[in-house]
């Protein structure tokens, strides 16, 4: 399970994106846009195959917490896909399940490249957001978007 801090960071990204067009933070379309931005930036860094493997792992971890994601899949190019027989894809990733998926993806980045570099990558995807490292209560460094 990812930490509360990482979930908060996922929520902040959703808030950044939602603020652009006034949609709800937990709307499925907002989750999709955040995911797509991450996909584009991470594909440039790690390659499509590299991103796809990260996203697949994040989705598997997220499904354990949010069964509503069970029908969701990662496609060849790393984007999210919901089988046609399932309900609207945006609905599947809306609400808390979308936050969990994004948090799992960010959590993997934290685990592999650390919080500072993850923060730099997020900054690149959301250049208008201000990310800064600060000391958390437990002494760990984490990122905060304002």
């Amino acid at each position: 399970m990812v930490s509360q801090q990482t979930r908060d960071l996922a929520r902040r990204l959703l808030a950044e994106e939602a603020a652009l067009d006034g949609t709800s933070l937990t709307a499925g379309s907002t989750v999709s846009r955040v995911y797509e931005k991450l996909r584009r930036n991470l594909c440039a860094l790690a390659g499509v195959a590299g991103f796809r493997s990260l996203a697949s792992r994040a989705l598997t971890l997220a499904k354990a917490e949010a069964p509503s994601l069970n029908a969701t899949q990662v496609t060849e190019d790393g984007s999210l896909q919901v089988p046609s027989e399932a309900s609207d894809g945006d609905e599947l990733t809306a609400g808390e399940s979308g936050i969990i998926l994004l948090a799992q993806l960010i959590g993997l980045l934290h685990a592999f490249i650390g919080k500072t570099l993850t923060s730099r990558l997020l900054q690149d995807a959301w250049p208008n957001a201000v990310f800064e490292d600060c000391n958390s209560e437990d002494g760990e460094k984490h990122e905060r978007a304002r």
């Binding site: 390659g47 499509v48 590299g50 592999f112 490249i113 500072t116």
Partner: protein, 508 residues
């Protein structure tokens, strides 16, 4: 063409300590370079150090990853190095993955992708890691670009776009010869590592570098948490002008020994003090360094067989204060004991210390300990490296006193077991002699390149004040240097004097 008409090639800091000196002052700007070597030899780390040293937001670095190590894993590991500055990502350093293009398309498409990114970012530095993996992808369609053409066009394009470039590739040593790919490169860096018994020896060679003279040969390097550190074979002193020979004599702190040496050790000499265990080599060396401190000449002591505190305490027992000069920075005692040191990095450490405090005197105590501290693979280079270091240091006016232990023989009179006498200007030999049921100590100056010296064999003692040479030369004995002298009776004494007198007569 006059010097004024020639284009100035700017040199870029490599970011690798010691490498700038090896490549002749820095890497030529806009050069197209290949870093080749076996997996694990440090190629990627070297490229990263260069990138982090030179990338700026205005002129960033583009780091293209192809196949092989994934960028995520590369970042995971590379950020462990102290040179890795996360603040440089992504504005100054951009990692771009080309694996999909390589897998799905041909080299022409890869080239096009690189060109687009370069035109967009206007980078100062471009790295392709690893270009070798591209050639292993079988495409095979007619008219497809081959690797040589790809590199040719890439080199042409990147030079025009004023980028300094590194291509990284895994190559075995025999592949370096006659490989047409390497003809395109302005610089070819070869990294290798060889396992010697339980140690790994890393070597770096600048196989070629256009536009400037690099230091030839194989240079040792080490990979630590700070990344690569290279140790030039010339110890960073290749550009230094040698000091003209000095007429000055340095006191050893033992007045009688100074007299025997015609006033002391000629400044800039390399002196070897040789003798069996317990003859007082270290005491003599300590007096030499302490006398230098007393005369305002900073000193370095490189010890291998005892710790600095023990060395300091022992000096104190002879009334020589080495604590205060260590505190005020005029004396450094280096303890160099790790068993996997390369000879060049050990010498580099000594040289750094010499430069740091402006040392005029250096003691190496002892050469046997020095050799033992080295990784086994480096021991065969010991004499050659020692020669280079002594030559470099004495060239800038440092006076070196080295000690070496020799087996006490009662049939021979060896100067040193290391056959390093040729490295030294002066040799002082200490030895035991058995006289009248007592083990006594004698010393003799074997050679002094810089001039005349006493031929006397003198007895000395190690007292609470250090080495003290007492009395006149030992006149009443012959065969002193065998260690088992014979006392001369009166008739023997006359016989012994005769050859000398007749020699003196023949001279007149």
């Amino acid at each position: 063409m006059s010097a004024r008409d020639k284009v100035t090639i700017h040199k870029l800091h490599t970011g690798v300590p010691g490498l700038d000196e090896i490549v002749g002052g820095g890497l030529p700007e806009f050069s197209f370079n290949i870093i080749a070597g076996a997996p694990g030899s440090g190629k990627t780390t070297l490229a990263h150090q260069f990138v982090f040293a030179n990338a700026t937001p205005e002129r960033p670095a583009l780091y293209f990853t192809v196949l092989g190590e994934s960028a995520i894993k590369m970042l995971r590991y590379q950020q462990q190095y102290t040179f890795f500055d996360p603040a440089k990502l992504p504005n100054s350093i951009r990692f771009i993955n080309l694996s999909q293009v390589v897998l799905e398309k041909d080299l022409g498409a890869v080239l096009q992708e690189i060109i687009e990114e370069v035109e967009k970012a206007n980078p100062a530095v471009v790295v392709v890691d690893s270009f070798r993996t591209m050639v292993r992808i079988p495409h095979g369609s007619p008219g497809e670009m081959d690797l040589q053409a790809f590199i040719q066009q890439l080199a042409l394009f990147l030079a025009s776009w004023q980028a300094t470039t590194f291509l990284i590739g895994e190559y075995a040593e025999d592949e370096l010869r006659d490989n047409p790919i390497f003809t395109v490169a302005d610089g070819l860096f070869w990294l290798s590592q060889i396992a010697e018994r339980n140690s790994v020896v890393r070597k770096l060679q600048i196989v070629k570098l256009r536009g400037q003279a690099s230091v030839p040969g194989l240079h040792t390097f080490r990979i630590t948490d700070a990344g690569l550190q290279a140790f030039s074979r010339t110890f960073g002193l290749s550009g230094h002008k040698s000091k003209p020979p000095s007429q000055r004599r340095l006191s050893i702190g033992i007045p009688e020994l100074d007299k025997m040496m015609g006033g002391g050790i000629p400044e800039g000499d390399s002196v070897l003090v040789t003798g069996a265990s317990g003859t007082g080599k270290s005491v003599l060396a300590t007096q030499f360094i302490a006398e230098g401190i007393r005369q305002g000449e900073p000193g370095i002591v490189a010890v291998f067989e005892e710790r600095p505190q023990a060395y300091t305490d022992r000096a104190g027992s002879f009334g020589l204060d080495l604590e205060a000069p260590q505190k005020d920075g005029t004396l450094l005692i280096l303890y160099l004991r790790p068993l996997d040191l390369s000879v060049d990095e050990t010498m580099n450490e000594i040289l750094d210390a010499v430069k740091k405090i402006g040392a005029k005197r250096l003691v190496i105590d002892s050469l046997a300990g020095f050799e033992m501290a080295l990784s086994p693979g480096f021991r065969e280079d010991f004499r050659e490296s020692l020669y280079r270091m002594i030559f470099a240091l004495t060239g800038i006016g440092v006076t070196i006193l080295s000690t070496v232990e020799v087996d006490e023989s009662f049939t021979e009179f060896p100067f040193s077991t290391y056959s390093i006498s040729f490295l030294t200007d002066d040799i002082i030999r200490l030895r035991y002699v058995s006289i009248e049921g007592r083990l006594r100590k004698i010393l003799v100056i074997i050679k002094m390149r810089g001039g005349n010296h006493s031929q006397d064999i003198r007895e000395y003692e190690i007292t609470s004040k250090g080495m003290v040479i007492a009395g006149e030369r030992l006149k009443n004995y012959q065969r002193l240097i065998t260690g088992i002298p014979e006392r001369l009776n009166r008739s023997n004494e006359k016989e012994a004097e005769l050859p000398r007198k007749s020699k003196a007569k023949s001279k007149t």
